[in-house]
């Protein structure tokens, strides 16, 4: 399966999000670059609202991620509860 990735700015807002992603995606690997965190995963990567809310203890709207995203790879699908990145082949 090809790698999908999501790159986020390194800051206080993204710290719990990265933690949530690592918790929800066993194949996710963190690659720290200057001022940027790139998370690679095998074929599929999910960002779950509920996990982020559990970690931060506040309501979270997944659209807030718009502010801190740098780049990504893969097909995307976003709902109220999840952002999914995936390859079909």
């Amino acid at each position: 399966m090809s790698t999908v990735f999501l790159a986020l700015q390194t800051n206080e807002e993204t710290r719990p999000i990265i933690e949530a992603i690592l918790q929800d995606n066993p194949s996710a690997v963190v690659d720290e670059q200057p001022a940027m965190v790139k998370i690679n995963a095998d074929g599929r990567l999910v960002v779950r609202r509920q996990t982020i809310e559990e970690i931060t203890g506040r309501d979270y709207d997944l659209q807030e991620l718009q502010v801190n995203m740098i780049t990504m790879s893969g097909n995307l699908d976003q709902t109220d509860d999840e952002i999914t990145l995936f390859w079909k082949a």
Partner: protein, 517 residues
């Protein structure tokens, strides 16, 4: 008594449907082909525009909210940076030439992208892509503005940036990025989406912005890093738009597949040729390197683009053939480009220099198959000559490729000792090309590319001198007049970094910042 009924908030999917398709209507007294005149001539067949959906499902109200937040963040960082004389924290003054290259080469393209997406959005009958194009059009004008604002602080202290937009429309090498985007916005709306939305934003953007932004971060340039990240935060959406548009077109009709394949082939090559400037920036212009051009090509194109084209194979789309040639060029591209700019330092709006010994070592280690054999000896010779007071400035204008407008500096794929040269006769004129791919692009649309405004031809035709210049007077110096036309000052904005005002001023100011005077 009024009863307040607690209304259930709409979910993301419903909100998206209401705020995009829900706002559209079917015209009753105007014909569709009159409202959308450009939609048919490219041969793309669309049967159901409603099949297109933005996977982020972003609506305009949410868009404004998040964009405003991005702007607030960006400008507070820029203020802090300026207030603290942040420009003195960059690694060394050579770094500033990256900023000059970016401002004159890339920022004006952001503005053209803004116009391009406004135009494409207007032409699409489907509300989904129309709203997404509107957002991207607004993003792009924001990028142009924030970049100009961020760099304006550098312009107070350093040379070569004072009239970047004037330069963009005139300076010889800037015709490379300029003509690339002009080519895209003069295509039809579908080709524009494939060229910029897909090929540039999805396939190549990581090679452009990630190196610039992480290069800025590595070299202490917080201003560029911040505008870079702010622009990048829109990029995930742009990439998604590019990919969705392609999938949508391909799913609509099998007849669309060969048309789209041809566009992908063309625009991957066109975009790659523009990235020549980025390749040399990464390998030569950043005092502190992030990764080599070759490494970044391998990660972001070969690995990542490989995954993408594997995914698109189900539509019958293949990896562009030019990828094979690009792989052969990756050991040479940045070195051939930097050699050219070293040569033409008298005619550019930034400074060039020879790499020092440590940098030569880095280049050898990153390019074991090519650097010591082909490029180190050349540099050592130039360095020796410069030490003897013979710093070489080439004053003979080079022949340009009719398609990409880059001088004919590239070597044959697989033979770094032979210049690659192609030509075509068309309507009794001869046209020259840097490669088989640029030649093929011309042959498919000759009537478009014969119109290219080639800076070298224009100089020789006398079109690049200030008004009223008389080139027949005794002792006429064409270069001096061309620089005047570019609004560049000889001896200040151009020539070698070693003798530049930038170098001298930076050392003096940094000294003042760290010592009591």
């Amino acid at each position: 008594m009024d009863m307040t009924v607690a209304k259930k908030k709409l979910g993301l999917k419903e909100r998206y449907a209401v705020m995009t398709r829900g706002l559209d209507w079917t015209p009753s007294y105007q014909k569709m082909e009159d409202i959308y005149p450009y939609i048919a001539y490219e041969g793309i067949k669309i049967h159901d525009w409603d099949k297109w959906e933005d996977p982020f499902r972003l609506t305009m109200d949410a868009y404004w909210k998040y964009q405003a937040e991005k702007e607030r963040k960006l400008y507070s960082v820029l203020d802090a940076y300026t207030q603290n004389n942040g420009h003195l924290n960059v690694t060394d003054a050579r770094y500033l030439n990256t900023v000059k290259l970016f401002l004159s080469g890339i920022s004006p393209l952001e503005y053209v992208a803004h116009r391009g997406f406004a135009h494409a959005g207007r032409q699409f009958p489907g509300p989904g892509p129309r709203v997404a194009c509107l957002m991207q059009s607004l993003d792009e004008i924001r990028h142009a503005q924030t970049q100009v604002h961020a760099v304006s602080n550098y312009n107070k202290y350093y040379n070569g940036m004072h009239d970047f937009h004037h330069a963009h429309d005139r300076v010889w090498f800037l015709s490379v990025p300029k003509s690339f985007f002009d080519d895209a916005i003069t295509a039809g709306p579908f080709e524009f989406m494939v060229s910029i939305g897909f090929s540039f934003e999805y396939v190549l953007t990581n090679l452009l912005f990630v190196p610039f932004v992480s290069g800025a971060a590595y070299n202490g340039d917080m201003a560029a890093m911040t505008f870079g990240f702010s622009a990048q935060s829109d990029e995930a959406r742009h990439m998604t738009l590019g990919l969705e548009v392609i999938k949508f077109i391909l799913e609509q009709d099998p007849d669309n597949v060969p048309i789209v394949q041809r566009w992908i082939d063309k625009w991957t090559w066109r975009g790659y040729r523009v990235l020549t400037l980025v390749a040399m920036m990464m390998d030569y212009m950043l005092p502190k390197r992030t990764m080599s051009w070759k490494e970044s090509w391998e990660i972001y194109f070969e690995e990542n683009g490989g995954a993408l084209f594997k995914d698109l194979a189900r539509y019958g789309i293949k990896m562009p053939k030019c990828a094979e040639q690009i792989a052969l060029e990756k050991d040479h591209l940045s070195h051939q480009a930097w050699s050219t700019f070293y040569n033409y330092a008298a005619a550019a709006n930034f400074h060039t220099w020879m790499p020092d010994e440590d940098e030569m070592e880095w280049l050898s280690s990153k390019y074991p198959n090519s650097f010591d054999k082909h490029y180190r000896p050349r540099y050592e010779f130039w360095r020796e000559q410069a030490a003897k007071g013979n710093r070489f400035y080439n004053k003979t204008l080079p022949m340009l490729c009719q398609t990409c407008q880059i001088p004919m500096i590239f070597t044959e794929p697989g033979d770094a000792t032979k210049t690659c040269y192609r030509e075509v006769d068309y309507k009794n004129e001869k046209y020259h090309f840097c490669s088989d791919y640029c030649k093929e692009i011309f042959e498919h649309e000759p009537e478009k590319y014969v119109q290219a405004w080639l800076p070298v031809h224009q100089i020789y035709q006398g079109n690049c001198f200030p008004e009223g210049t008389d080139p027949t007077v005794e002792g006429f110096d064409p270069l001096a007049k061309v620089l005047e036309y570019y609004h560049l000052e000889h001896g200040r904005d151009n020539l070698d970094f070693d003798i530049s005002e930038d170098k001298k001023n930076f050392a003096e100011w940094r000294g003042q910042a760290t010592k009591n005077v």
